[in-house]
């Protein structure tokens, strides 16, 4: 009998270090499937962040570079500018991309750097043990907002997809989720689209993926999925914020 479901070639056999119920594994798989389906593995360079996905390079089988905290978009810029023939993607969390790396992501996006950024938003710092992130929801308890995020003191959560959509240059900005199979299908589609646009030599592509962190949220995996759907999705709406097709239509 033929195998109908197998591990993507772009994923390694390594056991991940992710916590039970963490959705990084799902997102890794979606990226790997997109790379496989587009036949890009032997010409792709991934960039690992600092955060929970710091060891992502152990789980993918393409070339990889490991960045300092927040600097993946600058490294991707360096790689893509000297090797425009390569496919380059960054894989970053919310502390990495929306806090310490805010400058790098905005300017890479605005210059229209031709790489793909995969942004995993789970509203908390994971690896360092559950501190408040720029994406943490109002009232959400974290180790550095023990009484819940006080927006009078820390402002409102940053919506990266919307923020980057205000820029003229990026070609594709989307937000999807991995909270249920119906969302996962759409997330896969968005990620694959982003890589396809990069293959077409289009400017900056960005997919935000609303994710969970059962460990640092102090919830079971199932409760996390439900909480994310109920709390995160109303504030972080899913969909495509910017597409080349829309852009062309608007121009016409």
């Amino acid at each position: 009998m033929a195998k109908t479901f197998k591990k993507p070639e772009a994923l390694s056999d390594a056991h991940t270090h992710y916590c039970p119920g963490c959705t990084h594994g799902v997102i890794h798989r979606l990226v790997a499937e997109a790379i496989d389906e587009l036949g890009l593995r032997d010409m792709t360079v991934g960039i690992a962040p600092v955060g929970c996905a710091v060891l992502a390079y152990n789980y993918f089988t393409c070339d990889f570079q490991e960045a300092a905290h927040g600097r993946a978009p600058a490294m991707a810029t360096g790689i893509k500018r000297v090797r425009p023939d390569l496919i380059v993607f960054t894989y970053q969390g919310d502390g990495d991309l929306a806090s310490i790396g805010m400058g790098e992501i905005i300017h890479a996006a605005n210059r229209g750097e031709k790489f793909t950024a995969i942004f995993v938003n789970n509203a908390v710092y994971g690896m360092t043990g559950g501190q408040m992130a720029p994406t943490t929801m109002p009232g959400q308890r974290t180790t550095t907002s023990p009484a819940g995020r006080d927006i009078l003191d820390t402002g409102m959560p940053i919506r990266m997809a919307e923020l980057l959509s205000t820029l003229k240059t990026p070609s594709y900005i989307a937000r999807q989720a991995v909270l249920r199979p119906k969302y996962i299908t759409k997330a896969k589609k968005a990620i694959k689209k982003a890589f396809q646009y990069q293959m077409e030599n289009r400017c900056f592509t960005f997919v935000e993926v609303v994710s969970t962190c059962p460990t640092n949220w102090g919830m079971s995996p199932l409760e996390s999925l439900e909480w994310a759907e109920k709390t995160l999705l109303p504030y972080y709406p899913l969909g495509e914020f910017k597409t080349p097709e829309q852009e062309e239509q608007d121009a016409a």
Binding site: D63, Q65, E66, A74, M75, R83, G103, I106
Partner: protein
Amino acid sequence: MGKKILMKGNEAIGEAAIRAGCLNYFAYPITPQSEVAEYLVKRMPEVGGVFVQGESEVAVGYMIFGASGAGARVFTTSSSPGVSLMSEAISYIAGAQCPAVFVNIIRGGPGLGGILPSQGDYFQATKGGGHGDYHMLVMAPASVQEAVEMVMLAFPLAEKYRNPVMILGDGLIGQMMEPVEFPDDLRTEPTNKDSWATSGMKSRGSTERNLVKSLYLDPTQLNDHNLNLKAKYDQMKAEEVRYEPYNTDGDYKILIVSFGTMSRVCRTAIDFLKEEGIEVGMIRPQTVFPFPDAPIRDAAVKESCKAVISIEMNMGQMVEDVERCLKGQRPVHWYGKCGGDVPTPEEIMEVIKERL
């Protein structure tokens, strides 16, 4: 050798990189070296090269890291506050063993300091700057011609050691115009980087992926990694020391140690003193890491030599290396100024006479 042309130091540095075969430049503007970017934004397109103005020196450091990791010959130029910002990336680049060339046209510090020439970044360049156990190979030019040659040498050296190399100039080297020639024989082909660079498996015809990283969570592995790095720095100390002696044949009473722009003023002071019948020798480190320990020691312990003076455009940084290599065999003094007011030959002559 090509023909001699009159060029500003900063522009000559940009041209030297191209002549050395480096066609990738990422930078952020900062006085007193912005002319490098202004020059290369025109030149790079002519040679099919890459020019990117980054959003900050922090970002530029990582553009350099990414590009180098992907196998490209790459360089940047900056000045002191900018180099502080790049120092994080330099630590990562050294840790990940990638070749890259950084030019620091030093201005006065600390903080915003000033925009005039200084040698106040000697510690930063030679002792780290960023975190962790690493060194750059650091060359300090004393003329525009030497800056050109050092930039051209820097690329093969960076690749030989898979380590960042720094050209440590100062505002005068960047801003003054001098006649220069670009030696054709210093043009080198980039080395083959297939064994480690993330150049894409297809491009290098391999089924093995490459990984560029500085993370070693296992303590034994991290220790071994640092021992490997140390072995490279030890090899630099054995093979890459460069220095220039001046007036060290006679019986000098004082030995000066001075580098870069400052050493040129010292040279004039030595010539003037010679006319007065006073012999003074000088060792000019051309590499400040690795430091010319043995040549300085040998010159200092000469019987006629009573004392050593380290003369620097800072508050006394290299003097610590001079003391270290002399191990108390001769008294070591320091004279220096910072802020951009470069000491005059007459001033240096007075300093020397006080120690006779």
